[in-house]
């Protein structure tokens, strides 16, 4: 039982949400109590769950969400530079997802409608402070900007699919979801 543990090198994992809804992160947590033992095997770098604000060298990067502003592009590049394996998690990272529904709209009209002419506004004005990252004209999937190693479909991908990906990588296998875990809703 209590044999001295040989310190195993943990898999270092970073996660981030770009233009996503956090549903994919919820699905990561939906592995439920398996997370309690997973933490013997992995450690978190930058993630919404930790207070590390910039990604350092990692074995695995999980990206939720597509690219909707310049800041997203910047964070994605930082992840690619630091992560040996980069995974596009969920519909938004893979093809833009629901936020990409805005891609056919004329942005200038919309901006004016939302921030200037909408009823109920006391006084309008388009937010334009330099602290706000520039929005992109369209929402882009992440593979348009960086090389992506694996794509995990679903909105969000089921927790069991995330679990399979992690355990395959931990065992040194090529991740293979197989039947039942690969779906798109």
């Amino acid at each position: 039982m209590n044999a001295p543990q040989t310190p195993v090198k943990k898999l270092r994992v970073a996660t981030t949400s770009l233009a996503g809804c956090f549903g994919c992160h919820m699905s990561i947590l939906d592995i439920d109590e398996r997370i309690l033992k997973l933490l013997d095997l992995i450690e978190f770098d930058r993630s919404p769950l930790t207070d590390i604000k910039h990604c350092g060298p990692c074995d695995l990067g999980l990206i939720e969400g597509g690219l909707c502003n310049a800041e997203n592009v910047h964070v994605l590049r930082e992840f690619r530079k630091n992560c040996k394996i980069l995974v596009a998690v969920g519909a938004c990272a893979i093809n833009g997802g629901l936020p990409a529904q805005r891609n056919h709209l004329d942005l200038r009209d919309i901006l004016e409608e939302v921030y200037q002419t909408e009823v109920g506004l006391s006084h309008g004005g388009i937010p334009n402070d330099p602290e706000l990252p520039l929005p992109l004209n369209q929402v882009h999937p992440i593979h348009e900007v960086v090389k992506v190693d694996y794509f995990l479909p679903g909105c969000p991908p089921p927790a069991d699919a995330i679990w399979k990906l992690l355990t395959d990588l931990l065992a040194g296998r090529t991740p293979n979801l197989g039947h039942g875990l690969l779906h798109y809703d």
């Binding site: 233009a19 996503g20 809804c21 956090f22 549903g23 992160h25 919820m26 699905s27 947590l29 939906d30 439920d32 109590e33 997370i35 309690l36 933490l39 978190f44 919404p48 769950l49 930790t50 207070d51 590390i52 604000k53 690219l67 909707c68 502003n69 310049a70 997802g97 936020p99 529904q101 805005r102 709209l105 942005l107 200038r108 919309i110 901006l111 409608e113 939302v114 921030y115 909408e118 109920g120 506004l121 006391s122 006084h123 004005g125 388009i126 937010p127 334009n128 402070d129 330099p130 602290e131 706000l132 990252p133 520039l134 929005p135 992109l136 004209n137 882009h140 909105c155 969000p156 809703d185």
Partner: protein, 496 residues
């Protein structure tokens, strides 16, 4: 006119410190602080830096798609959007009363949502600050650290969240982004097996939720002065209440009180919310600033969410949670009930209430009924309001004769709290940061104030806008740091 510490008089002379991204919250936000040479704080702002445009791209879609689309605003509280949209579209369909099965299945789904979201927020996101200390080691200050140091607390948190997610899965079809609620009712009820499965753990969840209330109470007792003072400010508030004034997170009329506790409106029919609420825009955030119209944009800000709900309701209709409510509002002469960190305590009382609701609903035979849909006389528009985990959530749609949505307005919980969160972080900046050397641990104090509100910054990014096409980012010294341009695909590139 602006709020204290909102805008520095000469920002170009000041040093900028940023918390970017704000972590252990849901969504994308950052805080900027401007300081002078003596580290005196001159400006503090919580910026919402992203926008996604849901209100716009819903337009033109058939209305029955809306409850499924809009929940993609938020993966933590998708059920809130799912149900607020369904309620708005019930009204549009002229359905005044759901079938008992539909109403109870929706209430069960909502209680599952409150339970899992509150558990996640308290245990996974906020408990590290409270258990380890506000300025504790950054490397351990997360759920992993809690699992290592307090495994029994962490395990309860993980399993409470799991149970809430299972309630959602069985009522909505999926843990995240289900499809169970539809305009006019629901598309499934529970099977006898599902009901039995959920009943197995229902009492355990009530017991663990009680333990959680005990834990936050104990933390308050141990740190009373600091907790009561932390980021404290006076504020008006708003929430839904039932016809008898008791807490109802699914349906009711709007109750608002000013900062002195005087009633401003009560049992107000939310289908005319715009008579009482206006919205303001500031150039430095994509999130709007709502206010009570009767007080105007300068004085009319208010807060929503657990703290307001627990202190504004006359009672909670489940016995254990109501006892805890009484204890909370009486604690330390009532002062904790006005503290920013009082949000956590109120949140755990609501989690207990949600667990009790789930247990009670599981004993009600209507949840295995088969009468799922109601019909009515079609209307042109509909408004749906629900108390989401973080506060009052408003959905408003107009639908044309082709069944297409032609107008949508959403005011999410976090948006109502925009000014309140900004005020709270400015209070914390005054209390902890002014005139001292800023450290990581001190900056975490700012984030703790934001976390108290459990902001869903993701929800708050729904408004779509576009900035001017060329923007220069100018540094404090007036020099251009960055310029942004767009390539032929419309992709912005930063060029230094």
């Amino acid at each position: 006119m602006t709020f204290e510490l909102e805008t520095a008089i000469s920002p170009e002379k000041l040093r900028r410190v940023a918390i970017d991204p704000v972590s252990r919250v849901e969504g994308h936000g950052k805080v900027t602080i401007l300081l002078d040479d003596d580290n005196k704080v001159h400006q503090v702002r919580l910026h919402i830096v992203e926008f996604r445009g849901f209100e716009k791209f819903i337009q033109g879609r058939p209305y029955w798609e809306v409850p499924v689309m809009v929940q993609r605003l938020c993966g933590i509280c998708p059920v809130s959007h799912h149900l607020a949209a369904s309620k708005a579209l019930d009204m549009m369909m002229g359905v005044k009363q759901l079938t008992p099965t539909a109403e109870k299945i929706r209430r069960l789904m909502h209680a599952g949502q409150i339970l899992q979201s509150h558990a996640l927020h308290f245990f996974h996101l906020s408990s590290p600050d409270l258990l380890f200390g506000f300025g504790s080691d950054v490397a351990a200050r997360n759920i992993v650290g809690v699992i290592a140091a307090h495994p029994e607390i962490a395990k309860k948190g993980v399993l409470l969240r799991k149970y809430g997610q299972e309630v959602i899965r069985m009522t909505a079809g999926k843990r995240v982004h289900g499809t169970g609620s539809v305009p006019g009712g629901v598309n499934k009820s529970l099977s006898a097996e599902e009901r039995a499965e959920l009943l197995k753990d229902a009492y355990q969840m009530v017991a663990w939720s009680r333990d959680a209330v005990g834990l936050i109470r104990q933390l308050f007792e141990q740190n009373l002065t600091e907790y009561n003072r932390f980021g404290r400010f006076r504020s008006a508030g708003m929430c839904l209440v039932a016809a008898d004034g008791s807490m109802d997170l699914y349906h009711g009329g709007l109750r608002a009180r000013d900062a002195d506790g005087n009633t401003m409106f009560d049992h107000f029919d939310y289908s005319r919310y715009w008579d009482v609420i206006g919205e303001d825009v500031k150039p430095w955030s994509y999130m709007k600033f709502p206010f009570f119209k009767s007080l105007g944009p300068e004085d009319g800000s208010y807060r929503v969410g657990p703290l307001t709900r627990v202190t504004h309701c006359d009672s909670i209709p489940t016995p254990l949670a109501d006892k805890e409510r009484e204890a909370f509002v009486a604690f330390d002469g009532g002062s904790s009930a006005g503290a920013t960190l009082g949000y956590h305590w109120a949140r755990m009382i609501e989690m207990l209430h949600a667990a009790e609701c789930i247990k009670d609903l599981l004993h009600d035979d209507d949840i295995i009924g088969h009468d799922l849909m109601a019909t009515g006389q079609r209307q042109e528009r509909g408004v749906g309001v629900i108390e989401a985990p973080r506060g009052t959530l408003i959905h408003h749609y107009r639908v044309d004769e082709n069944d297409q949505v032609i107008r949508a307005n959403l005011i999410v919980s976090t948006t109502h709290n925009n000014q309140a969160m900004n005020t709270a972080v400015r209070e914390v900046a005054k209390q902890y940061l002014d005139g001292v050397e800023i450290t990581e641990g001190l900056l975490n104090h700012i984030e703790i104030a934001i976390r108290a509100f459990d902001p869903c910054l993701s929800c708050a990014t729904h408004a779509l806008g576009q900035m001017p096409l060329e923007v220069a980012i100018v540094g404090a010294d007036g020099n251009v740091i960055d310029e942004a341009t767009r390539d032929h695909r419309g992709l912005t590139r930063l060029v230094s």
